[in-house]
Structures are given as C-alpha cells and as structure tokens.
Amino acid sequence: MLNTEFIINAVYVLSAALFILGLKLLSHPLTARRGNKLSAMGMLVAICVTLIDQNILAYEWILVAIVAGSAVGALIAKKVALTEMPEMVSLLNGVGGMASLLVALAMVEADSAIESYLLVIVLLAIAIGGITFSGSVIAWAKLSGKVAKLISSGSTVFAGQAVVNILIVIGIVILGILVVVYPQAANSAIYLYSFVTLCIVLGVMLVIPIGGADMPVVISLLNSYSGLAACAAGLAIDNNLLIVAGALVGASGIILTSVMCKAMNRSLTNVLFSGFQAVSTSEI
C-alpha cells in the first residue's frame, strides 16, 4: 500500500527533474521556450501533489489565495510592456522573497518549541527573504522611475552610510542571537519582529547606493538570494523539493550574476560598492 507521503515525495523527485531539465533547456536559444514550459509543468505537479498532504485540514484559504494570486500574476504578466520586463522580474522576485519570509514566520508562530539549530535556519530564511523583498522593490523603483521623487535612479549615498549599514548588521545579529537563545522570553516577539524590520531596512540600504544602469546585475543577485531564501525555508520545514529548487536558483543565479558582470567588463564588488567609492574620492 502506498502512503501519501511516499507519493508526494516521488512526485517531488519528478518535478525536481523537470526544473533541472527546464533550466538546462532555458540556457540555449532554440530550446528556451520549451524549457520554460517544462519548468512550469514541474511547478504545477508539485503544487497539485502538495494539496493531497494529510496535514492539510482546510482548503478554503489555500484555494482563495491561489486563485487570487494567479489572477494578479496573470494580469501583471499580460499588461506589462515588453520594455518594462527587467523591473517586472525584479518586482516578482521581491514578492517571492516576501513569501519565503512569511513561510518562515508562520513556522515560528505555529511551533513555539523549535530546536535552536532550526531556529537559526528560520532566521536565515527571514533575513534573506527580507533583504530580497526590499532590495527588489528598490531595484524596481529605480528602473521604472515611478517613484523618482523618493528614490533616484542614480546612486544615493549619504555621509556615514557605511557606518549605518554596519550598525544595522550588528543589530540584526544581536536580535537574531536573542531570538535563538531566549525563544520563550516574554518579549521574544518584539525581538523577532524587530529582526524582520531591520532585515527589510538592510535590503533598502544595500541597493540605494547602486546606480540604475547596474540594476540588471543587482536583480540577478537578488534573484539568487530569493532562491537561497526558499532553500533555507526548505531546510527549516524539512521539504527536499524546496531545498533542491532553491539551491538550483541560488547557484545558477550567482553564476548568471558573474556572467553578466563579465559581459559588462566589471567585477561584482565594483557593481555593489562603486557608489561608496565615488563618495570617498569626491571627499578627497
């Protein structure tokens, strides 16, 4: 007798294979469209088979969320002008990062007694998801120029920005340690949500100093991050398809980022930190 868990995992193997094959075909011009369709098929079977999971008690919310999400996604994809594709990819990527963040948060809220090592991974998923979300939204704003008054498409740098960034990172690390060491503390929720907020702020801070022309590289990097966020969420909730798909996106995203940098004849550090260098040279 086959049990549901076995069936689900067997289908996950199939969809992992479809993702891998899809990515392979996507990297050749002639087969790219077929690759994308294969990958979409892998996603579809994975979603369908997940729905038979016995731990699912109610379907109403899932169905409403899926129908609403599909409608919004399809509408956006149909409406967007072809010239606006890069910023659309960035926005979708940010949305995906936020989804990973929320899954990780849901895990913390659902289970009050998580083992410490798992909690570290959950926090990692939250951090990467948060940075991906806000970074991608800023990248979208820079490319589309729709909020040009708030966020300039060029590089935005202010005095002491590097110091502020370092302080934010230190704050994130301290809050993370507090959450892991004192998970039962009365104000652990405050620590957790401050952690979430600081990660989102960090994403903004990391992307504002980068000029608009470098955005495609940054989007590729953030895309890789969203894969890593999904991967971390997979490690946390013990789902091997999330791990495989997330790691594939994470690794291929990093390689794609470096390929894009090479095509522009620049290094990744140069793209990410050239805004700061401009400031230091002008001060001298």
Partner: protein, 91 residues
C-alpha cells in the same frame, strides 16, 4: 529525515546549478533570470501546509498571504518569461 542528508541534497543541487548555467548567451540573460525567479516561487508548496492548518490563526494568515504572494511570483514569472521568449523567436 536527517539534517546531514538534507545538506547532501543541498550541496549536489548547488553544484548542478553552477554546471547548468556555465555557458549562457547574453541574449538569454534576462529570460533565464526570469525563469529561475519563477522556480524560486516554489516556496508556495511550503506555504500551503500553513495556509491549510486551522489550529493556529496567526500562522494560517501568514501562510495564506505567503501562498498568495508566491502564486503571483510563480504565475507571473512563467508567463513573463514565456512572453519574452516568444518575442525572441520572431526575430
């Protein structure tokens, strides 16, 4: 499933990802990025479990919002990629 076993899967998937994308022509950079982005919407299947669990309202709300956002990512991602690639072919 043991954590070490999951780490092994992780390591193999990373190497595979590197190998798959090694030589990609410049024209395919954006579609590939977009297609990979749609795959990262796989978080959806993680979110479904929380969205369908009625025991804890807050987790259910978080999970459902996550399902909503991840579906936008998946559906939008694949459709946008397909549109980009369709434009390619005619050229």
């Amino acid at each position: 499933m043991s954590f070490i076993y999951l780490s092994m899967i992780l390591m193999l998937a990373i190497f595979l990802g590197f190998e798959l994308i090694r030589k990609v022509p410049a024209t395919l950079h954006t579609p590939l990025m977009s297609g990979a982005n749609a795959v990262s919407g796989i978080t959806l299947i993680g979110a479904i479990a929380y969205s369908g669990n009625e025991n804890l309202l807050l987790a259910q709300i978080l999970g459902s919002v996550s399902v909503f956002l991840a579906t936008i990512n998946v559906v939008g991602g694949y459709m946008v990629t397909d549109r980009m690639l369709a434009m390619f072919k005619r050229k």
